[in-house]
Symmetry: C2
């Protein structure tokens, strides 16, 4: 039978909407990968004694097996988590000398009572190291429930989960599930995907659930086994059927990111890339350079946000801009070709469009975007009309550009 | 006495960590601005009958006055919210003919039962229009608690809150609080801010609480009155004292964004801007062009991610790069000056640095960044050493660049 997991995220910042709670999302995204572990509740509460106790009462009455608590371990008077837990579990604090010494050596100028408070944990608990911050995490068992108490800083939660909690307390006891898979697609609408897949979805409906999740980067298709005893082969058989029908739209699986995938391909093929952006205004270059090591294949880009720059720096004749407009297939093609030549790269990408909210016309409404990919051998350009929302238009343009680039690289192989 | 607000966000995507819950954050950020309204609980649950009922039971037992529920109003079989609520409140659904007709007119090809399900609300409720999506929102009162039932799509929640719920049900009954203010600073560390302010914080500690909240964009200083009866004048007096001590580091208040502030200043002064980026790889241009209308003052930028581009497109002599390195004060200065001249703009900004995780050396560690601002009259350049994390280095560089630009514009006035 499945074990149940509850998460409590503590912080006045969270409950008052100053800060988005990323921790519960991170913890849940790791936990869901195991068979027989279900996340049943996520709570967000303020730094408030009564609310925290109430939430604990609730979870302890719901047959929960694991409780994660994040936040409120800092050294200031707002940080109440340890105080509440001591009261709740009727225990004192103890000091972890090893952690104290580590902090003392690292921050000799810090106040001693600050270092002390960051080294204290519940006397009923054992420490979990904090590899990058000061507040010590801890774990303990109470009435059959395993508790993990973590700081609020997302990077510290990340390290505690990945370096200690998963390898020491979860992985030895739970199998990774092989009956959930997310297939990442781009360049096709949800409804078209559904039409291509509806027969096999119908045929397999008792065995595997298929969910379509549209987003900026495309539509994700999540396959979930409805029976945890389904064999890996059967699941793979269904996956293969799905893939066969929509092969050319798939760019990856699960946590894959298009910018990282493209980086790997370009590195492997020793090819280089340059970008000329108009409507995306630097965003495409930003996403490409989010990837560590991207300087090996990304030569750079030009954000030609004004016609002047398209003429002077990209060398596009002003006649062409006057005749067809800066947002046109003709200009997009010249942008991708000229940036490729200027940077002496293997691939050139360009974007030009009307991001909005204003600037649209009858012929070229807000949301109209041209994306062009140029190689030494040929240049393609596609026209799109996305939405009336600037943010959506900019985001979708990035991911379609990267997807078209990936297609282009694959064709060249 | 304060009224209490609870929020329940429903969705398998949320509880399993596939999607971050932004809705509770958005709702909370709006609600917290009113006196006598406190958010006491945020719950995230899956599309699961029992969990949703349990969470409702919990909230209904806690003297809550308002309950917001988001998610699960879509037309698929996963969307259970209305079903659960009908059971919970022992009522049927009714159809909103006006909404049905609106959807029918807009999407004549959509299936009728799809349109019908999106137009149904609880018979005990009244509709709240959905200005951009299909699922109708609703509100009702039960045992003295006011319920708002909203879709899960963040933009739809945004519109429902801003266009209907706040103006119709909240603003008429609650005063905006004038005893909370967030002062936004940049270019100074938390500890230095604290040192400058500690005397007045101490002196006023019984009246006003001061919290320091560091982030990528700088340190936010939140002032909160500890006594809701404190007069506006007294609060302003304290605010003025704080501002006097740290004036030159303040760039805005509350929800202000540096990119929007700079946009407004440049528009007003009719000045233009161009950017040459190395370590930020397009991110600075992206943040500048996130602002609608930025094409009026942003001429464009060059992402000179390779030395080749610094030489060929920015016209920096390769001798300079060879002598001082691409990450140097000398190169940063030439980048900001050359981009300004090339684009014929009033201001030029440049960034060059070692974002990491690799590429550092003893003299220039990962995190070393040079930012330069150039005007027709002079050029400044500052050296920083941020962190060993690529993401942090890129983010901080963006905000410090914008802050230095703002300072530069103000000096010119």
């Amino acid at each position: 039978m499945s074990k149940k997991v509850g998460i409590i995220c503590i912080g006045d910042e969270l409950i008052n909407g100053y800060t988005i709670d990323n921790n519960s999302n991170f913890i849940a995204s790791k936990i869901r990968k195991f068979d027989n572990l279900d996340i049943s509740n996520i709570f967000v509460v303020g730094d408030d004694l009564v609310s925290i106790s109430d939430n604990l009462d609730y979870l302890m009455g719901k047959n929960i097996n694991y409780i994660f608590i994040t936040g409120g371990l800092g050294p200031t008077h707002d940080d109440l988590t340890k105080k509440v837990l001591c009261e709740y579990f009727n225990c004192e604090l103890k000091i972890c000398e090893k952690h104290y010494q580590k902090l003392y050596d690292k921050y000799p100028s810090k106040k001693k009572n600050h270092i002390k408070s960051q080294s204290e944990i519940l006397e009923i608990s054992q420490p979990i190291p904090n590899d990058i911050g000061t507040a010590l995490s801890m774990h303990f068992m109470f009435k059959g429930i395993t508790f993990f108490i973590l700081p609020g800083v997302p990077l510290e939660v990340n390290k505690a989960m990945v370096n200690y909690i998963l390898p020491d307390y979860i992985e030895p006891f739970y199998k990774m599930n092989n009956s959930v898979l997310t297939i990442l697609t781009s360049g096709i609408y949800e409804s078209s995907l559904y039409n291509r897949l509806k027969d096999i979805i119908e045929e397999w409906r008792d065995k595997i659930k298929v969910a379509f999740l549209p987003g900026y980067s495309g539509v994700k298709i999540r396959l979930t086994s409805l029976d945890s005893n389904i064999s890996k082969d059967t699941f793979t058989q269904f996956k293969n059927l799905v893939e066969y029908k929509i092969k050319k739209y798939i760019y990856g699986y699960d946590d894959d990111k298009l910018n990282h995938i493209i980086g790997e391909i370009l590195l492997k093929e020793r090819k280089t890339l340059a970008v000329a952006e108009s409507c995306t205004g630097g965003y495409l270059s930003k996403v490409i350079t989010d990837v560590p090591g991207s300087s090996s294949y990304f030569k750079g880009g030009i954000v030609s946000y004004s016609n002047d720059m398209k003429v002077k720096i990209l060398g596009i004749k002003s006649d062409v801009i006057n005749e067809y407009g800066a947002v046109s297939k003709e200009v997009a093609v010249l942008m991708s070709e000229n940036i490729r030549k200027k940077c002496n790269s293997d691939y050139g990408i360009s974007t030009t469009g009307i991001a909005g909210p204003t600037g649209g016309s009858r012929n070229k409404p807000v949301g109209r975007v041209y994306i062009s990919i140029s190689t030494k051998k040929n240049t393609i350009c596609k026209e799109f009309t996305f939405s009336d929302q600037r943010k959506i238009n900019r985001n979708i343009t990035i991911y379609i550009s990267l997807f078209l680039l990936k297609k282009s690289i694959e064709i060249k192989k």
